[in-house]
């Protein structure tokens, strides 16, 4: 069954819960406890699915409803407000006893709703597991934002349903007297906060923003052939470690450097420099020129460990780019203390790539295109016929890349105390992580782009 099926089920059971409560009074305590337990599960599962879709927590954990109220009234992105509201809705000032298995209609329906949302989370997590790289082509697209706004619209709809249940819950418990009334005060406080907070407004805003978007994730089913689990880059430290690991391995194996490594490195150099110092300096300009030039280079795709090295660089690049241009609700962290370190590693990587570039040119494994442009009748757009030939040191593309890799001005000093400056023996402390190359890599070259050997020899 697909996400869409379970979304409909969750919607149906939440409505059934509200209808079961409407116009009636709460029954035995066991039934109430079952509803309370299932209610918490519903909100927790909505929080989980939101995190899976957003690619992490939009904000750190919300400590209290007071803090949540403040955030909900601020001019925050709608996804952040929705997430904070959902998280705060799970807060209970005191725990309730475990719920029995057999309960009344409301408790059963609410439990089924929580289970349905849980299955939605399980399906999505199979494609985009937290902390890991996507395990399917669908997952790769989801992590890039494909289908996410519309899916968040569905989550917002379920949040609205859950708030409607809370409205009925307050009335349902209103008739309780004596010790029961005191016992239920905690859940009443939680439900009343949810009703009166701006969670409903945040949900409406998220739903409105998703209006008109294709709801593709409703078709998502369980991942059929998951890729191997590989750790994702989710922090600047992990990005730094990934760069250091690649640098270590490629320093020892410069003959493994390919066009893909050069493209990823030059884009990474540009992105990290923007992250460190968002000014148009000569150093930044060299990285920019190199990134543009490297994008025009081609070569044989990396294989085996060289492919793993490319995969690490591309993952570090993906994360760095996401920091430069975060999606709505994506977490933004301060990285001041770590910027000097990632900058240091990129400069070190540049030195490694300089050796690799030399090796790749020497072994005729980099290609540039001589282009002949032809224009179809009536069009202003030209189609290029590219004739690939081995790159030489005289080619602009090679010179621009080499210039950026060679030019490494005085770096920003780390703000960490007692920082030990690397020496030759200390420079490469990280072991290279062997990872499985995943398909649909950002910079992966299609096979038709790789110049064939006949053409290479003919030039």
């Amino acid at each position: 069954m697909t996400v869409g099926f379970w979304q409909q089920e969750a919607h149906r059971f939440l409505r059934a819960t509200a209808e079961a409560m409407h116009g009636s009074r709460a029954g035995p305590a066991a039934e109430v406890y079952a509803v309370i337990s299932a209610r918490s599960d519903v909100y927790r599962q909505l929080v989980r699915v939101t995190e899976l879709l957003a690619g992490g927590r939009p904000v750190p954990e919300v400590p209290s409803r007071v803090v949540a109220t403040t955030i909900l009234t601020r001019q925050e992105p709608s996804l952040t407000r929705l997430y904070v509201g959902l998280q705060a809705a799970t807060i209970l000032d005191q725990p309730y006893p475990p719920a029995p298995r057999t309960t009344g209609l409301a408790g059963r329906a609410m439990g089924r709703a929580a289970d349905s949302i849980g299955v939605i989370g399980d399906i999505i997590a199979g494609h985009v597991p937290p902390g890991l790289r996507p395990r399917s082509p669908e997952g790769a697209a989801i992590r890039a934002g494909g289908g996410v706004p519309a899916a968040l619209g569905d989550i917002a709809q379920l949040a609205t349903d859950a708030v409607a249940v809370d409205t009925e819950l307050v009335a349902w418990l209103a008739g309780a007297e004596g010790p029961a009334a005191e016992t239920y005060q905690t859940i009443l406080d939680a439900a009343r906060w949810t009703i009166n907070s701006r969670l409903g407004t945040a949900a409406a805003d998220v739903a409105a923003e998703s209006h008109g978007q294709p709801n593709l994730l409703r078709e998502l089913d369980l991942v059929r052939s998951p890729r191997d689990s590989v750790t994702a880059v989710t922090t600047i430290q992990e990005a730094t470690d990934a760069i250091a690991a690649v640098r270590t391995w490629l320093w020892r194996s410069p003959n493994q450097v390919t066009a893909v490594h050069l493209q990823a490195t030059t884009q990474l150099g540009l992105a990290v420099q923007l992250l460190c110092d968002d000014r148009d300096t000569p150093y930044l300009r060299r990285w920019r020129q190199a990134a543009i030039a490297a994008a025009e280079l081609r070569g044989a795709p990396p294989i085996a460990l060289a492919a793993s090295a490319a995969s690490e660089l591309i993952e570090a690049l993906r994360w760095t780019r996401s920091r430069l241009n975060p999606r709505d609700g994506e977490p933004i962290h301060e990285h001041v203390g770590h910027l000097a370190e990632i900058d240091r590693q990129v400069r070190s990587l540049a030195a490694t790539m300089q050796r690799g570039l030399h090796s790749a040119v020497q072994r005729h494994d980099l290609f540039v295109a001589d282009t002949v442009l032809r224009r179809p009748t009536g069009s202003i757009i030209y189609r290029a016929t590219q004739q690939w030939r081995p790159a030489t040191y005289n080619d602009d593309q090679v010179r621009h890349v080499s210039r950026a890799l060679r030019h490494r001005p005085q770096r920003v000093e780390s703000t960490r105390p007692n920082q030990v400056k690397p020496t030759a023996s200390q420079a490469f402390p990280h072991q290279f992580r062997v990872v499985a190359p995943a398909p649909n890599r950002i910079l992966e070259l299609p096979t038709h782009q790789v110049p064939d050997s006949t053409r290479t020899r003919s030039r």
Binding site: S136, P137, E138, A140, A141, I142, A144, G145, G146, G147, V148, P149, Q213, P214, L216, L217, E219, L220, Q263, Q267, L270, A271, L274, D278, R279, D280, L284, R285, R288, A291, I292, A295, E296, R321, L324, N325, R327, T371, V372, L373, R374, R375, P376, T377, S379, I380, I381, Y382, R383, A384, Q386, D396, N440, I442, L443, E444, L445, P446, H448, Q449
Partner: protein
């Protein structure tokens, strides 16, 4: 660089950049030229190449486009015959914004194409969002 073709066939005088951007956007909207989408991306990337030194926001824009081109337009065999963009300014950014938005709509139409596999449609949808995010950094 393939911005100005050295010896194109039937080479007329190059179009003004904004004229070319509007023509390609119109072609994208009409859906009458399969080269319009890579042509639009080519024009947008050329704007980054030419104007990046005026504002580092262009680099954020360019990095996103470079990523998109590598993933969805790996052939890179398209070039638009046009002058280099005029100086950076509100008018140029508005024209570019319309062009990129039209390209995003093109990808969103592909995302709604039921003949494609779900992974492909999700990728197209991701591309539409990425384009809108990219152009949003150019106020």
């Amino acid at each position: 660089m393939r911005w100005t073709p050295s010896a194109p066939v039937n080479n007329p005088a190059p179009m003004d950049y904004t004229q070319a951007a509007r023509a390609v956007a119109a072609s994208l909207a009409a859906g009458d030229d399969e080269m319009a989408a890579p042509g639009a991306l080519n024009l947008a990337i050329q704007a980054w190449h030419q104007l990046a030194e005026t504002d580092t926001a262009w680099d954020r824009f360019g990095l996103e486009l470079l990523d998109l081109r590598t993933r969805l337009y790996p052939g890179d065999d398209i070039s638009v015959e046009a002058d280099a963009p005029p100086g950076d300014g509100p008018e140029l950014r508005a024209v570019l914004g319309e062009l990129v938005e039209e390209l995003a709509r093109h990808h969103q139409r592909l995302a709604a194409n039921g003949d494609l596999a779900l992974a492909q449609r999700l990728e197209q949808d991701a591309a539409a969002h990425q384009l809108r995010r990219a152009v949003a950094v150019l106020p």
